[in-house]
Amino acid sequence: MKLLQRTTLYYLLYSLFIFGIGTILFYIFIKVILLDGIDEAIHQEKVQLVANLNYEKIGEGLQPSKDVLIMPAREAEVEKDKYKTIPIYDSLSKEYVDYRQLTSYHKNEANWYKVTIRQPLAEAESLLNSILPVEIGLFLILLGGVLLMNRFILAKIWQPFYVLLDKLKKYNLETTKIIPYESTDIIEFRDLNINVEKMTERIYKDFLTQKEFNENSSHEMQTPLAIIKNKLELIIQSKNLTEQEMIHIQSIFSAVKRLTLLNKGLLLLSKIENRQFTQKENVNLGELLQSIFNLLEEQINDKNISTEIEIKSKDKLLTNRVLIEGLFNNLVSNSIKHNVQNGKIMAELTDKHFIITNTGTQLNFPADEMFERFRKDSAVENSVGLGLSIVKKICDFLDYKIIYIHQDGLHTLVVNF
């Protein structure tokens, strides 16, 4: 719910409450005032009538209208004047109509008689009944007015806010970079705009620095690594090395190799982050996948893993070749690396998705940490722990969705193109 809608809702609820109470009070007051007036009128009429009775005889012209009734009464019935509202059946309109009736007892000479004066309440009731529609009408006008005003406020006054919100939604460090300040005459929005500009500027600067640092440090590491590698190669040409020394050298070779792989992985990650793989071409995924399985054939055979590869994709996919190759390669390598002896790999490729399932041991960390950098299965040596984070980064960059499922000892990764 929008902020304005919410505040309006509260305003309207309050007005509804006030209108409700107001209507009830109004109704009661009007009713009291009206009845008072009517009672006063019939009282006057009675006074007049009683005065007339003193010199006119009952029954002779003393039946002024059908609303006035004079009847003899016994002394025992005598009561004080009494006003009440009674429904009387009207044979003309065939319904009950409310009347205000005054019953009064008077003594003329020796005889008591009862005077009943009625007055129809129809007018008063129609007046009372018109209160509710009028109030409802007013409330509706208020509602309509408020809604119209909201529209105007949203369209005009809140405009800068929604413009900014839209920009923030579409904000992308790579393309938007900085959200520029836009002038507005509302102080809060102006402050907001100024600060958003400052903030995005700072974020963008940090981002650039970090990006540059990541890529540069990876590059700078290549040369010392190359020197170590080359020096080792020169050292091993020596004929005077002892066996122990050679074993040490081999360990250094391994360590350098690992550092190199790690560095290459980090470099690839920062290159993807730096959007250096934007070029797209039509890639035959089926051929690519098959070639990767062929390249890794020896590893597959070594663990005696059986493979079921189903390639059902017909069309070429418009994508970045380097990235999609990295994606497949990492996923297939992983399915071998984390597999068991005599295990199984099932791969399915269609135009819509790529699914790879492998047998393997239970993860020793939570599944949702799977795509984090340096998250690795400690049981697998030589893993630098970047494979799946590269996979994730590639999927994010290419806008593919990747899901991990673990069921019945099978690890499945699904990539939706």
Binding site: H219, K229, E233, Q250, I292, Q299, D302, S333
Partner: protein
Amino acid sequence: MKVLIIEDEKELRYDMVSYLSQEGFLCESAKNYSEAIDKIGVYEYDCYVVDIMLPGGTGLDLVKAIKSQKHQGGIIIVSAKNSIEDKIVGLEIGSDDYLTKPFHLSELNARIKSIIRRRSFNGNNEIQFNEIRILPDSRQVYINGKEIALTAKEYDLLLFFIANKGRVIPKDSIAEHLWGDYMDQADSFDFIYTHIKNLRRKLVQQGAKDYLNTVYGIGYKFQSE
């Protein structure tokens, strides 16, 4: 065979010169763009090893300069940037190969030899190592005039060994040569062993001498004595 090594990093330059000199190459080196331009302007080499990022200019411009001088030598671009664009541009403007740092000296050596061979024999080349004769263009191997059948990996291995004959080749280098980065280090050593065993068996069965020596812990050495 004259090789010009253009590399700004002193240690790397020294290592390359040192390794390649022992292979019998006449090595010269340049440490920056202008020095390289001077050397290219005066001499012609059989092979150029060009680093892309150089003080004073880019290696790609050097490749263009070499080409504009109509030099016939092969060109290998070396780069710390594993960038496809550089690779494509480099090959387009006339370089023959591309190596990403860090690389093994044995790999560089094998690539230089392969380029020089391709360029100097114009398709009519062959490699002779004692009783072993290789025709690289058709990937055929003969021992004492009799052809032997090798798998693709065994053939690559043999060629790599002969290019680096007499040198100790680390297992890593062999693994990278055969599989690039696709293979896990730990696994690849076992697979190397299998391929080497098969290659050795095939060679010896067909009457070749056993030239392959295992260097304990580190790798292998292919030598005639």
